[in-house]
């Protein structure tokens, strides 16, 4: 667990889309590593990878609309020493190619970086068909896969570099449009090590992705009621930072998880597994309650699915109440 003091106090929306930060980071990394390839499935416009095609035309491959082949081909390319980054909407980068990720990539220990954009409600107007509430859950069931979701554009370049430098299969989900800036430029990250963004001892809020910002807001709201919340950015849900979860459980005695994902098999499930096996305490999960997505603005969808700071506060108080009743 990393105690991180480099959290911004005054949160502001980023001025640039995450996909722009992403592509810039990938171009920079490709300058250092001539094995990096971009693979798209008719997604270079929506994923924002077009500048890479301009910079490295010989290292960018747009397959057309064929996710299954693209995933298998990426695995084959990696067997010859290349480091392919495969881009698609989160739904199609996960559930549509599940068997390819399982057998062509992970089962044979190859080296593919899968980037699933439009995490959860960020799919907005693309609606339920394109809204991945299940991607992290199904992929964390694949042995050896590393699954994570960066909270903002400061962590994103770190993640791009880490994937390039670390052999193995990764699934990164992220929001391709603007998000809130959480970290300042000096922040440090380590995949597999949670970041404690705020100290507290009444309740631990463990979140990932866009829910990190909601959790920090919830902590401010709880503080006004005298509840001192710890906030943890659990950007890596596999391998989960078990020690960070155990430490938080011991310190606070109650936990709320917050994810822009189905509560079944996502971050809440992963944290629950650690808590139940090591230090059982009351735990509540904020997330999508096992249902499908639909069209709407991100704010509307967050309200609808109960993903706001207010929802986190309600669950936090419930968990604290259960602890008192123990």
């Amino acid at each position: 667990m990393t105690r991180n003091n480099n959290v911004l106090i005054d949160f502001q929306p980023d001025k640039t889309d995450m996909r722009v930060h992403y592509c810039n980071a990938l171009i920079e990394e490709a300058g250092r590593n001539d094995k990096i390839l971009v693979i798209d499935v008719d997604t270079s416009s929506s994923m924002g990878t077009k500048p890479f095609y301009k910079e490295y035309p010989d290292r960018a491959i747009n397959c057309g609309i064929m996710e299954a082949h693209a995933a298998g081909m990426a695995a084959g390319l990696s067997a010859t020493g290349y480091v392919p980054y495969l881009h698609a909407f989160g739904t199609f980068a996960s559930r549509r190619v599940y068997d390819q990720l399982f057998l062509s990539c992970a089962y044979q220990d190859l080296n593919v970086k899968i980037i699933g954009a439009d995490a959860g409600v960020a799919a907005t107007s693309n609606g339920g068909t394109h809204m991945p509430f299940e991607d992290m859950g199904i992929i964390r069931n694949i042995p050896g896969m590393i699954v994570f979701e960066p909270a903002d554009a400061v962590m994103l370049p770190y993640a791009v570099r880490y994937m390039a430098e670390t052999y193995g299969n990764f699934y990164m989900r992220y929001v391709r449009r603007k998000t809130m800036r959480i970290y300042d430029e000096k922040a440090e990250f380590s995949i597999g090590k949670a970041n404690v963004l705020r100290e507290g001892n009444s309740i631990a809020i463990i979140a990932c992705g866009i829910m990190v910002y909601e959790s920090l807001r919830a902590a401010q709201m709880l503080a006004e009621e005298g509840i001192n919340a710890m906030v943890i950015d659990m950007h890596t849900i596999k391998p989960i930072d078990s020690q960070a979860v155990i430490d938080a459980a011991k310190c606070c005695g109650a936990i709320v998880t917050a994810e822009n994902h189905n509560i079944v098999n996502g971050l809440g499930s992963a944290v629950s597994e650690v808590v139940c096996e090591n230090f059982p305490i009351p735990l509540e999960r904020v997330g999508v309650n096992d249902t499908f997505g639909e069209v709407g603005t991100q704010d509307y969808l967050m309200e609808k699915y109960g993903l706001t700071a207010r929802d986190i506060c309600i669950k936090a108080k419930k968990a604290i109440g259960r602890r008192r009743g123990m």
């Binding site: 064929m66 082949h69 298998g72 081909m73 695995a75 084959g76 390319l77 390819q100 057998l103 044979q108």
Partner: protein, 261 residues
Amino acid sequence: MSICEVLAVLYEGVMNVDPGNPQKEDRDWLVLSKGHCGPALYSALAYKGYFDIELLNTLNQNGTSLPSHCDRLKTPGIDLSTGSLGQGISLGIGAALGNKMKGLDNYVYIIIGDGELQEGQVWEGIQFAAHRKLDNMILIVDCNKRQLDGYTNDICSTFDLGVKFSAFGFEVQKADGKDCGDIYRALMDSKQISKSIGKPTVVLLDTQKGQGCSFAEIASFNHYMVVTEAMAEEAICEVERRLQKALEKEQTDIEKEGQGR
């Protein structure tokens, strides 16, 4: 069993491989997309010298390095793991593209079943390979006309594969999958043609499921069979008889050639 002949030709006459250095950079690759044919490939690898022939007796035994389906992490000489049908072709295309990008002058051979062509991913890969003009990959279709549940044409016809592959932008070669000489001709022609016209080539191999073993060939269900010791003996005798016949023919041919001089 329908791919034993093509494997023998590939490993003994066509592919550039080194059993002492299975990972050598400029080797030719083989991807057995119909991964359930692992046992046939293991025999070829053993005879080629990748591992001790005695290891073949451990097939599918607990803890073996020779599992039913090909596994690159377990068996020397296996370039890519396969078993989920339709995926091997994409893996092979990725390897061919990677080798080409690296400037290597090698080939990737992909063996796929005719029943396997029912998988949609296969046609994604074929379309991609043709579009990218991958002239360093040769696709071999084992047209044994049968699949697990019966005859392919009864279950879901593949229709005219020559026409289909041509329409998808492949150069099409045909060969008798029981005739090693014809297979060799088709593969060598394919290598030359692919490079000269800048297209991927497919070799449609006319084979028979259970090939080379009479009781397996005629069995109504032969995707997998329980083979008794007596049946195994019978199959070995059949192979030996055929081998003897071939050797006698070769001897006669040599004598005729000598008399002709």
